[in-house]
């Protein structure tokens, strides 16, 4: 079932679920790198396992793929007594200002659900691969047909009031699902003053509770997409329509007011 149809099906099914903005709170501090979430995501989304090799690290596969929406990165920092081993979930952030959606030329291929997730519809996707360029986090991937694939915040689960598969599986609460506002206040309560994604890009749907700077965990300190995207989406795109309308209106006005430049053919007769 295309994810988009879930919405319709849900409404028809009469399941009454609040459509406040939902989100995830990821706390690397709590993550034990068990990768239950990585597997659960695959299971729920019926994604096949790929053949891999050991590259001299536990981390595998080496990158997100169209068959891998959520990946735990294993990062060793420092050595000796200062050694740290970080486990960081890499996945779509469900940005409010979603670069992917802004550049996407195929309406409906990427869409916003009632819960605020950025979901995708492979049927609508034209495989242009613009969205990965538009994404500040390098998230979208493309299957053999070139269709987009990425985390969709389990929009086909949360629409029915279920938790996303990854959050449900996580044994330690490192991935926590809930109303975005509640997650923010929860994080405040447990001592995280500021959250990554609280205000970035209009507020991310996936919030990270970081102890160090985001770059320490391999995420951009100030995530942003290329300025041209905002220029386009914010100013130019509306202009195009105005332009078209304006040009037509101008022509019409001209025709009516000034009038055409008739050639005096009659006099020739």
């Amino acid at each position: 079932m295309a994810l988009e149809q879930v919405d319709i099906k849900r409404r028809l099914s009469g399941v009454d679920v609040p459509t406040r903005r939902k989100g995830l709170l990821v706390t690397p501090e709590l993550c034990i790198g068990c990768r239950g979430c990585q597997t659960a995501c695959k299971e729920w989304n019926k994604l096949p396992g790929d053949r891999t090799v050991n590259r001299g690290t536990y981390e595998n596969p080496p990158d997100l793929t169209p068959n891998l929406f959520n990946r735990i990165r294993f990062v060793e920092v420092g050595s000796g007594d200062a050694l740290k081993w970080l486990f960081i979930s890499q996945r779509c952030m469900h940005c409010t200002d979603a670069g992917c959606m802004k550049v996407c030329p195929a309406p409906g291929a990427l869409y916003r659900t009632d819960e605020g997730a950025v979901a995708f519809n492979k049927d609508k996707c034209i495989g242009c691969k613009f969205c990965v360029a538009g994404c500040p986090f390098n998230i979208p991937r493309y299957d053999e047909q070139g269709r987009v694939a990425k985390c969709h915040l389990c929009s086909d689960r949360i629409a029915y009031g279920l938790q996303p598969a990854c959050a449900k599986t996580c044994p330690t609460g490192a991935i926590r699902f809930g109303d975005r506002e509640e997650l923010v206040s929860y994080a405040k309560n447990v001592g995280f003053k500021s959250l990554y994604g609280m205000n970035d890009l209009g507020g991310l749907g996936v919030l990270y509770a970081f102890k160090e700077k985001p770059s320490y965990y391999g995420l951009p300190d100030k995530p942003d997409f290329a300025p041209t995207i905002s220029l386009w989406k914010g100013i130019l795109k509306p202009l195009a329509l105005i332009g078209l309308g304006g040009a037509l209106a101008a022509a019409a006005t001209h025709y009516i007011t000034v009038g055409p430049k008739e050639t005096d053919e009659g006099g020739e007769e």
Binding site: I32, C34, Y58, T172
Partner: protein
């Protein structure tokens, strides 16, 4: 388990998973809970949230260490030195819980004056016989008064009292010495000792989570004993957030051990009879402990009630007082016989077995010295491999180095159902027996184990009935009433509820007990009602109460938590008698008031105990006439700091692993390894040879040998389960962990010219495997006895048979030695010596 039974009386996790959240300090050592028990980390993290300190001690920095407040490396096999150092620190700095030590342990007991310790006898305790490699335990006896009551010194000052002996014994484990043996830097030692010992105050508790990293050593039992002693000194047993918590390697290991997985026990930890115990009376007398201690409950005094009820469950109406309830039919071990894992395959290689059921196991990968195991399988006439998938065991005959045309073993593969494809109970590490329902039908021809056993039993029984045979009685007399039967008498489908009820036990006749009438055929409400006259049955006395007239207690799912400690008394059922924290009467003072008012497990309200199910309902210690001591399973009623029941000494002493990087034991010249372990191979006058009357060339080892200079250990990873038979077939799991790897430090990698991702060969005296190198700062070189010693580690969850292209690699148990713990014969797979070279 041996260590826990010796120390406290019962061989099981004293507390339970959820209780970990109540700890103030959590030590994870000899286990890697984050990777192998990830769900337990929910509770570890909850504890940390409340301010608990998490300590991880491990040869390598693991996913557990990544979450720890404090991490220290130690060389594999040096745990006793590390922990004895902690005992010394606790005693020297008087950080122990004096009240607890005096009232709940045998610290005040006075030992015979001629008792000597390794410090005096160069590495052994009194009573050692080097020829037999055995102790005469009489040398470890307590002094007794004229009534046969043990002499005690409640001031703990007598030089022969257990406390003073312990102090003397551990005085050799100075920080310097411990650092030299373990390779753990001194400052880390002190930091950890200090943090852990902070739980000696009554209002603080600390817990230890250990697993195979402790048990799989020649000194495994004694490592756990050391920790038990620490917990007793700090008063951490019987309290919430405390305990010695054995994390079992599989979801139902506790259950299978309770129901006699091991050769030397019958269900409920009754002993397997020995050939010399010809009658039931002899047998019962042998295992029913006696005590002269006035305040001891000595619960094992009920032994005959449990053994007779078990026989009644086994043989039903055929078990009568006249035939000693069929005791004769029970299989018996020869005196002194050890039928543990190592011995099984040893004898198999010697050609002593015709056939073998490999049921839900994969010894060709999981067995220590797996090369030997594989050879042994070839000596069989037939083998039945019951498993979800074919594996290295079922296909051993076409494995690496095998010539199928020469192997005569006939292999039968029986596909069986997975745990979620059948109904039944599993018992977790915390002793909670939880009923589970069937989620799906088994695929294809796969059948539940009970189906297979039923068929087997029926056919074997019929053969015996038809053809007779040497001794048909044990089989033909077996009661087998597990469901509706065909006209010939075969059970059609085994009903797990019928089995659960039999395990619980029935009244077999109308019986009045304590003034209450119990009707024939009703279920026994608790083991306190079991009888030794044949009027009750119980397939496992520990589980008596799990399935009663009130219903299947294991299926309960109430989330009520009246104590707020997470005991959830109405969620499933836990043995014994639904008691969630064992020895909980050790958590109160003489008046029955909780010593930690913040987390009271139980308290005496003047007439009865409130809270958890008390470990014995007697009034508090102040009531000298009526009270019974807190450790009811120990004959003297107290926990054992001094443990005279173990094969290798009443106190733990550091011995080196069979294969180690030092020439001699830094603590004693004459005894490098545990003097009480069974040796298969020996080095005599520089000559290596199989030991007389036992060893084989396959049992070779090489210690302090320049050919194998690096310490190695094995482990599992989160992504795979045991030998990986279940998980290697799951593409998702394989995608994350596709190949065997070996982890090593950048320092060693540099010496060897190895880079991360390189293919390398790891070899030991017994075999070799290829592996992908993971060069990581998570391993660092040790300084052992002032010399640099490198350690490497590799997982044992791979095998040649799947993935079929061999891309996963083979089992690291091809490297591990033939040697086991002195008490349990659990193989020493966690410390051995290897070489590593670029492939």
């Amino acid at each position: 388990m041996a260590a826990l039974a010796e120390s406290f009386g019962r061989g099981a996790m004293t507390n339970h998973w959820i209780d970990i959240r109540n700890s103030d300090v959590i030590l994870i050592m000899g286990s890697n809970a984050a990777e192998n028990h990830p769900v337990s980390f929910k509770w570890v993290m909850e504890a940390r949230k409340k301010g608990a300190k998490l300590i991880s001690v491990d040869p390598r920095f693991t996913r557990t260490s990544a979450k720890a407040d404090l991490y220290a490396p130690l060389r594999s096999g040096s745990d006793i030195a590390f922990l004895n150092g902690m005992i010394k620190y606790i005693i020297d700095n008087e950080l122990y819980d004096e009240f607890y030590v005096k009232h709940y342990t045998n610290a005040p007991f006075i030992v015979n004056k001629d008792f000597k310790m390794p410090g005096e006898l160069d590495g052994v305790f009194s009573g050692y016989d080097p020829k037999k490699r055995k102790y005469n335990k009489k040398a470890w006896a307590f002094q007794k008064d004229e009534n046969g009551v043990i002499r005690k010194d409640m001031t703990l000052q007598d030089p022969y009292c257990v406390f003073q002996l312990l102090k003397k014994h551990t005085s050799r484990y100075t920080l310097d010495m411990v650092e030299k043996i373990t390779g753990t830097p001194k400052d880390k030692l002190v930091e950890i000792y200090k943090t852990y010992a902070s739980s000696g105050k009554p209002d603080r508790s600390a817990t230890i989570m250990y697993a195979m990293g402790w048990t799989q050593h020649t000194v495994g039992t004694q490592i756990i004993r050391t920790m038990a002693i620490i917990q007793l000194l700090l008063g951490n047993i019987g309290v919430s957030g405390g305990g010695v918590n054995a994390l079992r390697g599989e979801s139902n290991v506790q259950g299978s051990t309770d129901h006699c997985l091991l050769f030397h026990i019958l269900p409920g930890y009754l002993k397997t009879p020995r050939a010399s115990q010809q009658t039931l009376t002899e047998y019962n007398n042998k295992y029913t402990p006696k005590t002269n201690e006035p305040m001891s409950a000595n619960w094992w005094g009920n032994y005959p009630k449990y053994s007779v009820s078990l026989l009644k469950a086994h043989y039903g109406a055929k078990a009568t007082p006249e035939n000693e309830f069929g005791y004769e039919w029970l299989p018996k071990l020869d005196d002194g016989q050890n039928a543990s894992w190592i011995m099984l395959f040893h004898e198999m290689l010697l050609g002593k077995f015709k056939g073998f059921f490999a049921w839900g196991q994969n010894p060709a990968c999981s067995g220590t010295n797996a090369g030997k195991v594989r050879k042994a399988l070839a000596k069989l006439e037939w083998m039945v491999n019951v498993n979800l998938f074919d594996n290295e065991t079922g296909s051993f005959w076409r494995g690496p180095g095998m010539n199928p045309s020469e192997i005569k073993t006939e292999v039968f593969q029986l596909p069986c159902a997975a745990s979620c494809e059948k109904e039944g109970s599993i018992t977790n590490s915390g002793r909670w027996a939880q009923w589970r329902y069937k989620a799906a039908d088994p695929p294809g021809e796969a059948k539940p184990d009970s189906w297979i056993i039923n068929e087997l039993f029926w056919r074997v029984k019929r053969l015996y009935e038809k053809e007779g045979g040497v001794y048909p009685d044990p089989v033909v007399n077996l009661a087998w009433d597990y469901g509706p039967k065909t006209p010939e008498g075969k059970v059609r489908v085994i009903d797990p509820h019928a089995i659960a009820r039999e395990i619980n036990g029935y009244f077999l006749e109308d019986k009045v007990i304590k003034g209450k009438l119990f009707k024939k055929g009703t279920l026994v409400p608790s083991f306190a009602y079991l009888q030794d006259d044949g009027s009750t049955s119980s397939g496992n006395w520990l589980y008596c109460g799990s399935y009663t007239e009130k219903g299947n207690m294991m299926a309960r799912r109430s989330k009520k938590d009246p104590t707020g400690l997470g005991l959830y008394p109405e969620w499933s059922w836990c043995w014994p008698v639904n008691r969630r924290i064992l020895y909980n009467r050790a958590s109160v003072d003489l008046n029955g008031r909780p010593r930690n008012p913040k987390r009271p497990v139980i308290y005496w309200n003047g007439s009865k105990w409130v809270g958890d199910v008390p470990d014995g309902g007697w009034p508090p210690l102040i009531n000298k006439a009526k009270t019974r001591l807190a450790f009811i399973m120990k004959p003297a009623g107290v926990a054992h700091i001094f443990g005279p029941g173990r094969a290798d000494g009443p106190f733990p002493e550091h011995y080196e692993p069979l294969e180690c990087p030092v020439q001699e034991n830094p603590l004693s010249k004459s005894h490098r390894i545990n003097p009480a372990v069974k040796l298969f191979f020996e080095v005599e006058d520089g000559q290596e040879k199989p030991r007389k009357g036992g060893g084989l060339p396959e049992d070779i080892f090489a210690t302090y040998d320049s050919r194998y200079p690096y310490v190695a250990t094995t482990y599992r990873v989160t992504e795979h389960w045991q030998t990986g038979v279940l998980t290697r077939h799951l593409p998702w799991q394989l995608e994350m962990m596709p190949q065997i790897f070996v982890e090593l430090s950048p320092e060693l990698a540099k010496e060897k010219g190895i880079r991360s991702g390189d293919k390398v060969i790891v070899s030991s005296a017994r075999g070799k495997v290829w592996a992908i190198a993971i060069v990581t700062n998570r391993f660092r070189p040790f300084k052992i006895m002032d010399k640099t010693v490198h350690q490497v580690g590799l997982p044992w969850c791979f095998g040649w048979q799947y993935p079929e292209d061999g891309s996963g690699g083979d089992s690291s148990n091809l490297l591990t030695p033939t040697i086991g713990d002195a008490n349990t014969m659990i193989p020493e797979t966690k410390a051995f010596m290897v070489n590593i070279e670029k492939a």
